[in-house]
C-alpha cells in the first residue's frame, strides 16, 4: 500500500471523475450523474477487486494521457473500443496493467464506443458533493473535470500482478436495438409520430454530451403548438422539442422540463446506447412497462453474475496459464 501521483499530460473535454452517482436529489434539481455506461464502469472496478461503486475516471472521445510521477499502481481500462498506448506498446482496451513511476499511459478514441473507464487499485483523492464524487458536468460539482497540466493522487495503491491481462467482456448486451416504453406524454403526439418513432431509423447527431443525445431523422410531429407545465424527467426520457427533434436525456439531465416525452429508454439499454457515436443508427423497439421490467431484472441478474466472476482474482501467472490451458484460452476472446 502506497501513495501514487499522476500528472495529466493531456485531457480532452468531458473527462471526469465519477463514482456510481448520487440518486435521491432530483427533487432539488440534481440528476444522479455517475458513469454514462454503468456496466463498463462497474466491470473496471470489479476486475480489480474494488467496490464496484468507487470513483474511477470516465474518458470521452477526447482521450487522456497520464504520467505516473510517484509510486506504482495496477489499473483497469474498459468501455468503448479505445486505443491504449503503454510502454511503447499499442493494446486494446478491456485490459488490466500496472503503471510504474515514470511510465505513461495514453487512452484515445478507437474504432467504436464513446466512453472508456479507467479504474485504479487504490483510492482516488477527489472532492465529494452530497456524498458522491460523481461530476455533474454542467455545474462542475463533485470530483470535477480532469484538465491538462493538473495532478491527482491516490492512496492505498497496490500492485496486483495476479489480475493483469485482458478482461472478459460482457456478452449479454450485443444487440443493437434500443428498447423504450411509450410516454409519459405520448398523448401530445400525432399518431403518425408514434408510428414514425417505432418504424424509422434515427442517427446520433454531433450534439451529444453527458446531458443528452440529440438524434437526427424524421420529425416527430406534435398535435399542436403547446405549452405544457414543466414535468419531472428521468434518465432515458426522449423529449421532443417544438421542431420535432428528439433528444434522449442522459446522466447529467435536467430534472424537469417542458418538452413532451414521446417514450423512455429502459434503464438496462442506456449503457449500450451511450456507447453509440455520432452518425451511428438508432432503432427503437417499443415494449410495455412490464416487459421492460422483466428485461431489466434479467439484465441486472446477468450483470451481477458477470461482475462476480470478474472480481475473482485469476491467481498467479502459472495458475492462470494452467486454467487458460484447461479451458482452451477462449474465455478472454468474446
Amino acid at each position: 500500500m502506497s501513495d501514487v501521483e499522476f500528472s495529466i499530460s493531456f485531457a480532452g473535454p468531458l473527462v471526469t471523475f465519477q463514482d456510481i452517482g448520487r440518486p435521491g436529489n432530483m427533487r432539488y434539481g440534481v440528476s444522479a450523474s455517475g458513469p454514462m455506461d454503468i456496466v463498463s464502469f462497474e466491470a473496471a472496478n470489479a476486475v480489480l477487486g474494488n467496490d464496484t461503486k468507487q470513483t474511477a475516471i470516465e474518458i470521452s472521445l477526447g482521450g487522456l494521457i497520464l504520467q505516473c510521477h510517484e509510486g506504482s499502481i495496477t489499473l483497469a481500462i474498459t468501455g468503448g473500443d479505445f486505443l491504449i498506448e503503454y510502454q511503447g506498446q499499442k493494446i486494446s482496451s478491456w485490459t488490466v496493467l500496472t503503471l510504474q513511476k515514470g511510465e505513461r499511459l495514453s487512452v484515445r478514441a478507437g474504432k467504436s464506443g464513446s466512453w472508456a473507464y479507467l479504474a485504479f487499485s487504490g483510492k482516488l483523492n477527489v472532492k465529494d458533493w452530497l456524498n458522491s464524487s460523481s461530476t455533474h458536468s454542467t455545474s462542475g460539482f463533485g470530483g470535477g473535470v480532469l484538465k491538462t497540466g493538473q495532478k491527482f493522487t491516490l492512496t492505498d495503491a497496490s500492485n496486483q500482478e495476479n489480475r493483469i491481462g485482458p478482461i472478459l467482456k460482457p456478452n449479454f448486451y450485443t444487440n443493437d436495438l434500443i428498447h423504450a416504453v411509450l410516454g409519459p406524454q405520448d398523448q401530445y403526439f400525432m399518431n403518425t409520430a408514434i408510428k414514425i418513432f417505432s418504424n424509422s431509423i434515427f442517427k446520433v447527431s454531433d450534439n451529444y454530451d453527458r446531458m443528452g443525445m440529440q438524434l437526427t431523422g424524421p420529425k416527430l410531429e406534435l398535435k399542436s403548438a403547446l405549452s405544457i407545465p414543466s414535468e419531472p424527467v428521468v434518465k432515458g426520457s426522449i423529449q421532443v422539442s417544438g421542431d420535432g427533434i428528439p433528444t434522449i436525456l442522459l446522466a447529467d439531465h435536467q430534472t424537469t422540463g417542458g418538452y413532451p416525452k414521446i417514450a423512455t429508454v429502459i434503464s438496462s439499454d442506456i449503457n449500450r446506447l451511450v456507447q453509440f457515436r455520432s452518425n451511428q443508427s438508432v432503432k427503437f423497439v417499443l415494449i410495455n412497462s412490464n416487459e421492460a421490467l422483466q428485461k431489466t431484472r434479467k439484465f441486472l441478474d446477468m450483470k451481477e453474475k458477470y461482475l462476480e466472476k470478474l472480481s475473482i482474482s485469476r491467481g498467479t501467472l502459472e495458475q492462470r496459464l494452467m486454467s487458460e490451458n484447461l479451458i482452451g484460452g477462449i474465455e478472454f476472446n468474446s
Partner: protein, 246 residues
C-alpha cells in the same frame, strides 16, 4: 400543523375532479398527474402526496420528484413494480388529508443596488412603475416553491405579482452571477451558478440555496413559502463574505 384552507381545496378537487392519472415510465418510475394545467390547488395536491409518501415510503422507493402538476416516483425494479407501487400510492392519496401540512417559511435577503439589478429599469419602464414601486411589489408578496429544475438548486417560485410580470427576453444573456434574483412571468428564481438566463435580473441575494450543510443541503423544500427581505449594499457585503458559493 394542518393548513385548513388547502385541505378543503384538496378534498373538493379529489371529490369533484377526475382521479389522478398514473403513467408507467420505462422500468423504474411512475408519473402521477393531478391536472393538465397549473393551479395552486393542484400544486398543493402534488405537495401533499409527496409529503405523504415521504412519511410512509412504500417498499422499493428510490425518490420522489414534485413538479407543477405531477409527482414522479422512481423505484428499484428488483424490489417492486409499477402496479404494486400504484396500489400503495392510491392508498396514500385516499388518506392524504391526514398528512398534508403547510411548508416552512423561508427568508431570502435581496439587495436591489444598481450593480446587482441590471434589468430593474427595463422592468419598471415595461410596467409603467418607478423602480422603487417594482421593488416594493416584489417584496410584498409571499412566494411558493413550485419545483426545482434546470440546474442544482434552481427553485422555481410562483407569486410574482401581475403589476411587475414581464415575459422572458428573446435571447439569453450569458454569465449571470450566482445569487441573482431573476423574474419571468409569474415566476421568480434565485440562481445558484454562473449561467446564462433569459429572465430579468432585479437583485442579488447572499442567501445560499445550496447550503453546504450535509443534513439540509438545499434551503427550500417544494411547498415552502418564501419571503424576500431587502438589504443594503453594506449588509449584502457582510452577509456575502460569510457565505461561500463555489
Amino acid at each position: 400543523m394542518f393548513h385548513h384552507k388547502s385541505l378543503t381545496l384538496i378534498n373538493l378537487i379529489i371529490m369533484q375532479n377526475e382521479k389522478p392519472k398514473f403513467k408507467a415510465i420505462a422500468d423504474h418510475a411512475l408519473l402521477i398527474t393531478f391536472s393538465d394545467v397549473f393551479s395552486e390547488a393542484v400544486h398543493s395536491q402534488v405537495v401533499a402526496l409527496d409529503n405523504s409518501i415521504t412519511l410512509d415510503p412504500p417498499q422499493g422507493l428510490i425518490e420522489t420528484v414534485p413538479a407543477i402538476v405531477n409527482l414522479l416516483v422512481t423505484f428499484d425494479p428488483l424490489i417492486t413494480d409499477h402496479l404494486c407501487l400504484e396500489k400503495s400510492i392510491l392508498n396514500n392519496i385516499k388518506n392524504m388529508t391526514n398528512n398534508s401540512s403547510k411548508g416552512t417559511e423561508r427568508i431570502v435577503h435581496v439587495c436591489y443596488e444598481e450593480g446587482f439589478s441590471r434589468d430593474l429599469e427595463t422592468v419598471s419602464k415595461a410596467c409603467g412603475l418607478s423602480k422603487e414601486a417594482v421593488i416594493n411589489a416584489h417584496l410584498n408578496e409571499n412566494y411558493n416553491v413550485l419545483m426545482y429544475g434546470f440546474s442544482p438548486g434552481y427553485a422555481y417560485l410562483s407569486g410574482v405579482p401581475k403589476d411587475i410580470q414581464v415575459p422572458r427576453k428573446i435571447s439569453a444573456v450569458r454569465d449571470i452571477d450566482a445569487g441573482s434574483v431573476i423574474i419571468a412571468g409569474s415566476q421568480c428564481l434565485v440562481t445558484t451558478l454562473k449561467m446564462p438566463t433569459g429572465w430579468s435580473i432585479i437583485g442579488r441575494s447572499p442567501t445560499l440555496i445550496l447550503t453546504d450543510d450535509l443534513e439540509n443541503p438545499f434551503l427550500f423544500n417544494v411547498g415552502d413559502t418564501v419571503n424576500f427581505k431587502r438589504i443594503d449594499l453594506g449588509t449584502f457585503e457582510k452577509m456575502n463574505k460569510a457565505s461561500n458559493y463555489v
